[in-house]
């Protein structure tokens, strides 16, 4: 094969792969992107059945377990509260009064059933979304996140 032909094939194959990747990326992004809401925004902005993340502080005194072993607690941003249930063991750093991000499917009117919980990873880190939401509500007490 001549060098020019080889280069042409290379460019065609590479172009096809990149086009395929771009298509898949756009397709996958449309379906699997998860938006983040503060408790005050959830009811107005989220669509029923949408996968969302909510973030805020775990309200003091709100953590309990129901009969089936689900963890029950309330996420608050100071203005609004969202009751949440989670089937499983919370992360090590899950505590009342701490920042938390919960991910699950939004069902209007029902308790938010989270399938993933993210707590801050160490003593000085808070999920950025939580920090932003709390700052927006004027609840922020720490330094720069």
């Amino acid at each position: 094969m001549r060098k020019r032909d080889a280069r042409l094939i290379f460019i065609l194959v590479a172009g096809a792969l990149v086009a395929l990747a771009a298509t898949l990326i756009l397709f996958a992004l449309r379906d699997s992107v998860v938006y983040f809401y503060a408790p005050s925004e959830l009811a107005q902005k989220a669509k029923a059945g949408e996968r969302v993340r909510i973030g805020g502080l775990v309200a003091a005194g709100s953590v309990s377990r129901d009969g089936a072993g689900h963890l029950l607690f309330t996420v608050t941003d100071g203005a609004n509260d969202i009751p949440v249930s989670y089937d499983g063991q919370p992360p090590d750093l899950f505590r009342e009064g701490q920042g938390i991000v919960a991910e699950g499917r939004y069902a209007p009117g029902a308790r938010f059933a989270a399938d993933t919980l993210l707590a801050k990873h160490d003593e000085t880190y808070m999920p950025r979304e939580v920090a932003e939401a709390l700052k927006a509500r004027g609840e922020w007490k720490g330094g720069a996140p």
């Binding site: 395929l20 938006y35 983040f36 991000v101 003593e123």
Partner: protein, 651 residues
């Protein structure tokens, strides 16, 4: 005094690196300037080693007048974690970055093969600039030797999650890989500045690339293993941005390892190899940026101030910008190609490279897209596993499908019929595996993935069979006399197959369940009966723990315990999981919190059954081992090259 002397040594290393950079670039054929650049590399590495040893000394002595020691250490901590604390934080890890970069400079100064002096000194010079950039950043924006005034009495301790043997080794390994990619980068830039490549250059590129890639492989494996047994979530990979940060350079380095073989053996693809070297190091810098700047929403990320992020971005722009500009100007001069057809070993290696590069691009988009959306629209979003399953898997799948074929094809012009003939057994086993998993597992994607894994494992066995039979009878003696390079390929490709089987089996067939257990209570889980015997309070060197003792009966019979620890230095409780490995799976127990209210006295216990999880880490370790054997093969080849009469024929 120790801290001030450490900062002084780091400053000496900076000046030596700057001199190394200037002398190396302008030395050309001047032997005296080249020798001076070499001496600078030696001074820089010795000074950096001294600075790093002094930092470790500060940690061992628990000198809380130093900010970084106060923030990350504690007098109660076991000695090994005091030492590991030196690099278990931002400032110390950046100093480690500089140390590794200086050490690579030293190694490059001494191991230059028969490269022309112009290429060699310029590579050394570029390496000097890399070290200097990292040192300026470290000394100005994250000085590990900064003092505290007034000095506190006790330190804040290393995050207890990080007090772990795997994690003591994980950052140095990963940094060896990240910074190791600076060596191919320096060689690539030297080639572009010189406007030529030679055989010795292509030969020198391979060990550096392979060494960096091997370290990255082990580093990522250790991190994943740590996440599995320490975080208590039962998982080993989360497509978390911090994981992607190390995975992108790994993908680029994997492509580079393969294209460097073509460049060395066949002389072609030099331009592409150089481009990959630039991309690989830029992605390694991007990884440092993502982890260290705090831009990510991540369970891993550390919080830091934004100046650091901007500074690392400037460094990335300098490295990638200068590299790509030079590439645009000089790459057309580098063609010394020998032609090849699409169906040849080169052809399939190009396919491998394209697939891996596109896969790295997909991971890059998935990692950066949330940041871009937030910057433009202010909305906060996250991109999770479904994205990567859909957009990443097809490209890696295509690379894996072609993998057994490539080593069986001849260079230049392959005969596909002849190459496919030994693979019909592998194809049959793969098809049978696919059907069996489909019938018994009832999951199409799992069946496809595990079938591909079987194709890889059998494919590499076929390759070994063919190589063994080449040029003589298959005797035991000839089997053990196979060249190391054959074993390197065999181990790495076998590891890929084993990993794919493990990863697909684990993610598709794992089970997990939470129970609320009273002491004495028994539950049935995954063909086992698990009894919580008792929960006792225990005292460790620097923590208190509730330890739950379990009895397991059924397909496994043994005792197992899991802990929930609270470290004396403070912080939230951490889980220490209990893992009962069997031949085929792990039973994994994480102890939760005590129950409240009506069920007081009971404990939340989470049980996981993770089939084939050993294959995941075992496969990844095999891949790394393949890299290690490959390094040995290159080292041996170098020795035999010096004694030509003893040189065996290369495969």
């Amino acid at each position: 005094m120790i801290a001030e002397f450490g900062a002084f040594l780091a400053a000496v290393a900076l000046i030596a690196s700057l001199a190394q950079g200037a002398l190396g670039i302008y030395a050309r054929e001047d032997a005296r300037r080249a020798a001076a650049a070499k001496a600078c590399a030696e001074i820089a590495s010795v000074a950096m080693a001294g600075a790093f040893i002094l930092l470790i000394t500060l940690f061992v002595r628990s000198d809380f007048t130093v900010a970084v020691v106060f923030n990350n250490s504690h007098t109660d901590k076991p000695l090994i974690y005091k030492i590991a604390g030196a690099w278990g934080n931002h400032e110390g890890s950046m100093l480690l970055w500089c140390l590794v970069s200086a050490m690579f400079g030293l190694a490059m100064a001494h191991a230059h093969g028969n490269m022309s002096r112009g290429l060699w000194t310029r590579a050394l010079g570029v390496q000097g600039w890399v070290s200097a950039g990292a040192l300026i950043y470290t000394l100005v924006l994250s000085n590990p030797f900064a003092r505290l005034d007034p000095a506190p009495f006790q330190g804040q301790s290393l995050n207890p999650l990080l007090q772990d043997p795997a994690l003591a080794l994980h950052p140095p390994m990963l940094y060896l890989g990240y910074v190791g990619l600076s060596a191919p980068f320096s060689l690539a830039l030297a080639a572009l500045i010189e406007g030529k490549v030679d055989e010795a250059w292509a030969r020198a590129l391979r060990p550096w690339t392979l060494a960096a890639w091997t370290c990255l492989t082990f580093g990522i494996t250790l991190g994943s293993y740590w996440a599995y047994y320490e975080l208590g979530w039962g998982g080993w990979w989360f497509w978390d941005p911090v994981e992607n940060a190390s995975f992108m350079p790994w993908l680029a380095a994997t492509a580079l390892v393969h294209s460097a073989i073509v460049t060395e053996r066949r002389g072609s693809l030099a331009g592409w190899t150089i481009l990959l070297a630039i991309i690989g190091f830029s992605l390694a810098l991007l990884g440092t940026f993502l982890v260290r700047s705090g831009v990510l929403t991540s369970v891993h990320a550390f919080a830091v101030d934004p100046r650091r992020g901007v500074a690392v971005l400037v460094l990335i722009a300098l490295a990638a910008g200068s590299g790509l500009t030079l590439y645009g100007l000089r790459a057309p001069m580098l063609q010394r190609a020998t032609g090849f057809t699409a169906i040849s070993r080169e052809g399939l290696l190009v396919l491998n490279n394209l697939g891996l590069a596109v896969a790295a691009g997909v991971v890059l988009v998935g990692t950066l897209y949330p940041l871009a959306v937030e910057a433009v629209t202010g909305r906060l979003i996250s991109v999770g596993p479904p994205f990567f399953n859909l957009a990443f898997a097809p490209f890696v799948g295509a690379v894996l499908l072609a993998m057994p074929l490539a080593p069986l094809l001849a260079w230049r012009r392959g005969d596909p019929k002849q190459a496919l003939r030994p693979l019909w057994v592998a194809a049959g086993v793969a098809a049978a595996t696919f059907v069996l998993v489909l019938i018994f597992g009832r999951k199409a994607w799992a069946a496809i993935g595990i079938g591909v894994g079987a194709w890889l494992v059998m494919g590499v066995a076929s390759y070994l069979w063919v190589r063994w039979g080449r040029g003589g009878k298959r005797t035991l003696g000839r089997f053990f006399a196979l060249p190391l390079a054959v074993w390197a390929l065999t181990l790495a490709h076998l590891g890929a197959g084993v990993f794919v089987i493990g990863a697909l089996t684990e993610t598709n067939f794992r089970t997990e369940r939470a129970f609320e257990l009273n002491p004495g209570q028994t539950v049935a889980f995954a063909n086992r009966r698990v009894t919580l015997l008792e929960v006792v309070d225990v005292r460790g060197p620097n923590y208190r723990a509730a330890r739950a003792n379990f009895r397991i009966e059924g397909v496994q019979a043994r005792a197992l315990s899991a802990e929930r620890r609270v470290y004396d230095a403070g912080g939230a409780p951490t889980t220490e999981v209990g893992i009962a490995p069997s031949l085929t799976s792990d039973l994994y127990i994480a102890l939760g919190e005590p129950s409240r209210g009506a069920n007081a006295g009971a404990w939340i216990v989470r049980l996981y059954h993770n089939p084939a999880v050993h294959l995941i880490f075992g496969g990844a370790a095999l891949i790394g081992l393949g890299g290690f054997v490959g390094l040995a093969a290159l080292a041996r080849r170098k020795r035999t090259a010096l004694a030509p009469e003893a040189a065996p024929a290369q495969p």
